[in-house]
């Protein structure tokens, strides 16, 4: 006689699967033929109901279609959950839940095609990593999918919170690195989706820090002429940080839009948010790169180049608004939107939110219609121009190692991050998932939201972007550096003392984490750095 053990979890899972199956089979909302008739020929899924929807539709030969078919198979076999729970930054929820441009939302399309509900739990961008750690610590399995900064990926893997996705990737074949539609380079795919050579994350963002400037200021003879007189060159987007600082110094105190006082440096310099500005200066200090660590894994913070970058960064505060030390990215956006700043380096969605018209036809900001963008500035090393930006924050989805339904969670993540659905989502102005895939840049909705001038600029910026830290210990490394830079910015320490102190802190982090583990991770991260050097 066979004894059958019926557990509470087993019953709940069975019930959930039956509910999902019933929903697909019975609920008129999920009846396939009506939906199928609105799809383009040969397509089996995707959004419908607005002009251009066919660009985001798919079939079984596409990454999204494979995810949907696999999910439907799980539902049919009773292996699917009724619900997948996702922890997501508040500011991105709208791109999944709000219809764009009309018709169903991203969430509704998934739910209609699979019958599996998506529950989104929001958290502020600055708090989301704490919420992830809280869930990992309690092992509650409350979330199937975490989203968090890409920088935290190593810490999450080391903490055992992220599931290794190698098997799922091999089985379901996402198009993340597709040569025509995926990441701009194979190197970028390695950077965004893998940690330590294994798949762990799915990128849902393109946080490559990009230079945006007020074109009307640069073209205005009232500014251009005196600039040329003073510096002996045309007032143009900067090629180097030296030129960038000259522009900041020149504009500070001048009168801008609506009679506003201009502060030449519009960069946010608050703790956490200001860190990528320093990293970008630092990375360009050597040919082809000034790495955060040397080849032996020793921090480079006490080098002459790092101290020079820190000194320049601290000096740039002279041309920033007095409140800049408390500003986040949003105040940076407001600053260039109001005409208070002529240029800044920031997240690419600045143009989506600032350079636009309201529904009633009025401009959304004083600077609407006047912005443009340019590739990042750098440092000229005797004719070798090293322009560098950095990737920083970049929302990344991972499957929780405590998820009761990891494959289902992965399938939703694959579907969401594949190039068709992601292109549709990136064009939606209701959130800050930014374009980074090749397919995104040729997408009409993305171009309309971000503007044509951003398309090439973002691509070129990605090609020049260095990875900030994302291996285990990142939180400790970044916090230590941030603390010392803030001490320098507020005059408590000289830049040199701050960098030497940060160096000691980084060395302690490496020792604490274990050199045998840290040094290979540091050395591996160097492979993801760009090598592009121009003749200046």
């Amino acid at each position: 006689m066979t004894k059958t053990n019926i557990t509470r979890r087993g019953m709940l899972k069975g019930g959930a699967a039956m509910t999902a199956l019933g929903a697909v089979g019975i609920n008129p909302r999920f009846v396939r033929p009506a939906h199928a008739s609105a799809l383009a020929s040969g397509m089996t899924g995707g959004p419908t109901g607005f002009p251009g929807a066919e660009r985001f539709q798919y079939n079984e030969s596409h990454s999204e279609g494979r995810a949907i078919e696999a999910m439907k198979k799980m539902v049919a076999e009773g292996r699917a959950p009724a619900k997948i729970t996702m922890l997501l930054t508040d500011g991105a929820i709208g791109q999944i839940t709000q219809p764009f441009p009309s018709g169903p939302s991203v969430k509704e399309v998934w739910e209609a095609e699979t019958g599996v509900e998506i529950e989104i739990v929001g958290a502020p961008a600055g708090d989301i990593w704490k919420r992830v750690l809280q869930d990992v610590t309690t092992q509650s399995g409350a979330f199937d999918i975490y989203t968090h900064p890409w920088n935290s990926l190593g810490d999450l893997v080391e903490a055992g919170g992220a599931m290794n996705l190698n098997d799922f990737v091999a089985t379901h074949q996402p198009d993340w690195a597709d040569e025509e539609r995926g990441t701009p380079t194979a190197q970028t795919a390695e950077l965004l989706y893998k940690y330590g050579g294994d798949y762990y994350g799915a990128s849902l963002d393109g946080d490559f820090q990009t230079l945006v400037y007020n074109k009307s200021y640069f073209e205005d003879s009232a500014h251009a002429k005196p600039f040329e007189d003073e510096y002996g060159r045309l007032l143009a987007p900067p090629s180097t940080w030296e030129e960038s600082d000259q522009i900041s110094a020149f504009f500070t105190g001048r009168t801008g839009l609506g009679g506003s006082k201009i502060y030449g440096n519009g960069n946010d310099m608050a703790p956490f948010w200001g860190l990528p500005r320093f990293y970008a200066r630092f990375a360009a200090q050597a040919v082809p790169n000034m790495y955060w660590f040397d080849e032996e894994g020793r921090p480079n913070l006490d080098t002459d180049q790092a101290i020079k970058a820190a000194s320049e960064y601290v000096k740039s505060r002279e041309w920033a608004h007095p409140d800049a030390l408390s500003w986040t990215y949003a105040e940076g956006y407001a600053g260039i939107g109001s005409g208070q700043t002529p240029h800044l380096t920031t997240y690419t969605n600045v143009t989506k939110f600032v350079d636009r018209m309201n529904a009633d036809g009025s401009p959304a900001s004083a600077a609407a219609g006047q912005l443009s963008a340019y590739i990042p500035p750098g440092v000229n090393h005797d004719g070798d121009l090293v322009r560098r930006s950095v990737i920083y924050y970049n929302i990344t989805g991972t499957v929780s190692s405590n998820s009761a339904n990891p494959e289902a969670a992965y399938l939703f993540l694959q579907w969401l991050s594949s190039t068709r659905v992601y292109s549709w989502m990136a064009g939606n102005p209701a959130g800050y998932f930014d374009p980074f895939q090749k397919a995104n840049f040729s997408e009409q909705f993305v171009e309309e939201a971000y503007h044509p001038y951003m398309m090439d600029t973002i691509r070129e910026t990605i090609a020049r972007s260095a990875p900030t830290i994302n291996f285990a210990g990142q939180t400790a490394f970044d916090s230590a550096l941030d603390e010392e830079l803030q001490a320098a910015l507020t005059g408590q320490k000289s830049p040199e003392d701050a960098m030497r102190a940060a160096q000691r802190k980084w060395e302690r982090v490496i020792k604490r984490k274990g050199e045998e583990k840290m040094i290979p991770a540091i050395q591996a991260s160097r492979a993801a750095w760009p090598t592009l050097v121009e003749k200046g």
Binding site: G91, G94, H321, W327, E331, Q340
Partner: protein, 282 residues
């Protein structure tokens, strides 16, 4: 005369200083988005173009000066805050009053007071991490009863110690007289003692309600979505386009002050007596 003037000026100065953040919040609540920070232009104390859009935004999720609608409005967090703060207060006041009465009258297990105090000795976060693990194991994360229970537990020491001070001051001869007249000890407590200390119970309840109502840390750690309270919801008020929604947060801050004020006014007649109860030794 000069002394009075100086005293008045000093009081006015310190009152203005204390009220500055509140008045700034009140002013911010009526400012349009363009006046929230210095980044968008000049920052003024009073709104240049007063608006009710911030209140509309938190209640409806939409505002004419916001590009992105809110995913959630304030209604559900408001309900969650009221339910959990009131339930937690009831737990703390009932248990605390009963325990304080028993210890005060029977003089047994007096160490219970110190045991309860342990909850307040450690930094809140140190206590909350094991609580979080226990609540997760018990399936009480993001439930109203889970949050109400922990509110009741962490405010129990206040309830116990405040009520014990009141009971200690109350002559036990009054209850003994009632017992002589035929009351049971419980009837003596319910019919004689409790009405006498009603003002003390009211002031204790108000104090505990305010603690529960304004809690952020516990609600942040023990709720996720369904039962997030107003302070947690307030922290989450941010959009991609605008960053922190300072105006909406200020509007919500003003609204959040309303329930404690209403409660305070409704039990005002008990409060003055309650706050001075036991102030004088017999």
């Amino acid at each position: 005369m000069t002394g009075l003037l100086l005293r008045t000026l000093a009081v006015a100065f310190f009152a203005a200083l204390a009220l500055l953040p509140i008045s700034w919040m009140a002013s911010m609540a009526f400012k349009p988005a363009a006046e929230w920070t210095s980044a968008a232009g000049g920052l003024t104390f009073l709104p240049k173009d007063p608006t009710l859009n911030n209140f509309r935004y938190v209640f409806t999720g939409n505002s004419p000066d916001q590009m992105v609608g809110l995913d959630r409005t304030v209604w559900r967090p408001l309900y969650a805050s009221l339910l959990t703060a009131i339930s937690g207060t009831l737990i703390a006041v009932i248990c605390g009053t009963a325990a304080a009465y028993a210890v005060s009258r029977e003089r047994v297990h007096e160490s219970i007071g110190l045991s309860l105090l342990q909850l307040r000795i450690f930094p809140p976060l140190a206590v909350m991490i094991p609580v979080m693990i226990m609540w997760s194991f018990l399936g009480m994360i993001d439930t109203w009863w889970g949050l109400a229970l922990i509110y009741g537990i962490v405010t129990l020491p206040f309830s116990y110690w405040l009520m014990k001070a009141y009971f200690d001051e109350l002559p036990r001869e009054i209850e003994e007289a009632a017992i002589v007249e035929g009351c049971t000890p419980f009837e003596a407590f319910r019919q004689i003692t409790l009405p006498i200390v009603a003002s003390a119970v009211a002031s204790t309840a108000l104090f505990i309600f305010i603690l529960n109502w304004s809690d952020y840390l516990i609600a942040l750690l023990l709720t996720r979505k369904d039962w997030t309270t107003i302070p947690v919801y307030m922290n989450a008020l941010a959009t991609a386009a605008s960053g922190q929604l300072y105006g909406a947060k200020a509007a919500l801050g003003l609204l959040a002050a309303v329930p404690p004020i209403i409660l305070g006014i409704s039990i005002q007649r008990f409060l003055v007596r309650g706050l001075t109860f036991g102030a004088l030794k017999q």
